[in-house]
Amino acid sequence: MSQHTNSTVIIDTGCANLSSVRYAFERLTKDVVVSDDHRVIKTADRVVLPGVGTAGAAMASLKNKQLVELIQSLKQPVLGVCLGMQMMTDKSKELGGRDSSNKAVDERTLGEKTTCECLGLIPTSITDLDSKGLPLPHMGWNQISPSSHPLFNDIPEGSYLYFVHSYKAPLSEFTIATCEYGEHFSAAIAKDNFMGVQFHPEKSAEVGSRILSNFLAMNTQTFNQALNQTSWQLNRESRT
């Protein structure tokens, strides 16, 4: 398995909590670095876009580091985690500052400006998770229905992953795994070499570790072969 010696770069987004993602990869490979250096990112075999906080703040940080165009130009596999996934979409309703509890107030005071422009790598957008009265944030271990996407090789239907979020990517043709909390939403999305997971694989015990291993097994070739495939088959659909 010589692929695991290839380099993986975790983009230093300027958010505080990068350690967990780094530690999780370090448990699987020696060749992982955290960097915001354009050359290092560009030449990596695969790239991880982490993120904790709000989409507004994280996008501001990427712009500040002039990383937006660089990320958009990447051809190698790129994995967004949690907010990193949300940032891969066209836009997000999650701005900075106080969010969930004061949504109504935010929308009134902010008028037109109720969305944050994101990276536009996967054509979908982030909206509030409608938990139908269940506690928010959606926090804890929930089950997913994975698709045939290579990120979910050997991940059984109903596997538990750790989630913490109040916003979601809705189901779309770019959904590669689903989850349910009040409503069905995308547990993971992908387009070409870009993929994002709403859950935290770095905090999801063995199952999460297997997903990260699957990512480490990918390279540019993985998606050259599959480039014509616009959507990955969900188990749910294959069963019916």
Binding site: S19, V52, R98, G140
Partner: protein, 257 residues
């Protein structure tokens, strides 16, 4: 389906895991990292580390163990104890803690909750509440500085009011520790937890009183909490986490196994 979480709590004092009865007479139960690793392997869904001396003694927890835990443990964990500022919180999160829990400092300065939330997002801000049943006034009240028996004091807050206050200020989760029940293993205070559950729109973790596997079933079924925290039953081997999860699963409670 979202699983109910089983959360072992490791009270930390001088770099060791300790446990006392009703917050007193602490005895050492083991080293932090090996105990944390053991619980993770046994199926704990999350871990909480409370430095019980920090708030009362006006010092910050030694943070080196936070990154050692984060390096080795692949489940979420929360760090509590003496976090009074944005910088202290940032440090714990940077070392790999998933959440930080604030208790006494939030009572001293409730605006801390808003500031932390603005900076890090509500998902990693947990508020710990030490609540007790006050028989004289027949009400639930909040105590402060419970890490040290000599420093512990009453506050002016009724528990229900404080629960609403901390949510308005932007916490992402509440740990309700019922002090009359702590360490005595007579069961969670289902009545109080049910009252708080009604007021609580964020995830609620029950703490204090777990003694048998049926206590866990009751707190999930009756008080409808999202997670149940316990310490002594796990540290002393009274309840095995795997066995507990098998039992709860057989009782049709959503459990990760």
């Amino acid at each position: 389906m979202l699983a109910k979480r089983i959360v072992p709590c490791l009270d930390v004092k001088d770099g060791k895991v300790v446990k006392g009865v009703q917050f007193r007479n602490h005895e050492i139960v083991g080293d932090i990292v090996p105990l944390a690793a053991r619980y993770a392997e046994e199926g704990a869904d999350e871990l909480v580390f409370y430095d019980i001396t920090a708030s009362a003694h006006d010092r910050v927890i030694d943070k080196s163990w936070v990154s050692r835990v984060a390096e080795q443990i692949d489940i979420p964990f929360c760090v509590a104890g003496g976090i009074k500022s944005i910088e202290q919180a940032r440090e714990k999160l940077a070392f790999g803690a998933d959440k930080i829990s604030i208790n006494s400092p939030a009572l001293t300065d409730p605006s801390l909750i808003e500031r932390l939330q603005d900076e890090f997002g509500r998902q990693c801000i947990v508020i710990g509440i030490d609540s007790y049943y006050d028989a004289t006034s027949d009400s639930y009240k909040v105590k402060q500085f419970t890490g040290d028996a000599a420093a512990t004091r009453d506050t002016q807050w009724f528990t229900q009011d404080w629960v609403q206050e901390v949510q308005q200020r932007g916490c992402g989760e509440i740990v309700l520790n019922v002090m009359n029940q702590d360490g005595v293993r007579q069961g969670y205070d289902l009545k109080q937890l049910s009252i708080v559950r009604e007021l609580c729109d964020v995830p609620l973790i029950a703490s204090g009183g777990a003694g048998t596997m049926a206590h866990f079933k009751d707190v999930f079924e009756i008080a409808k909490v999202d997670a149940a925290l316990a310490a002594s039953v796990f540290h002393k081997g009274i309840i095995d986490i795997q066995e507990l999860k098998r039992y709860l699963s057989a009782q049709h409670i959503a459990i990760r196994y």
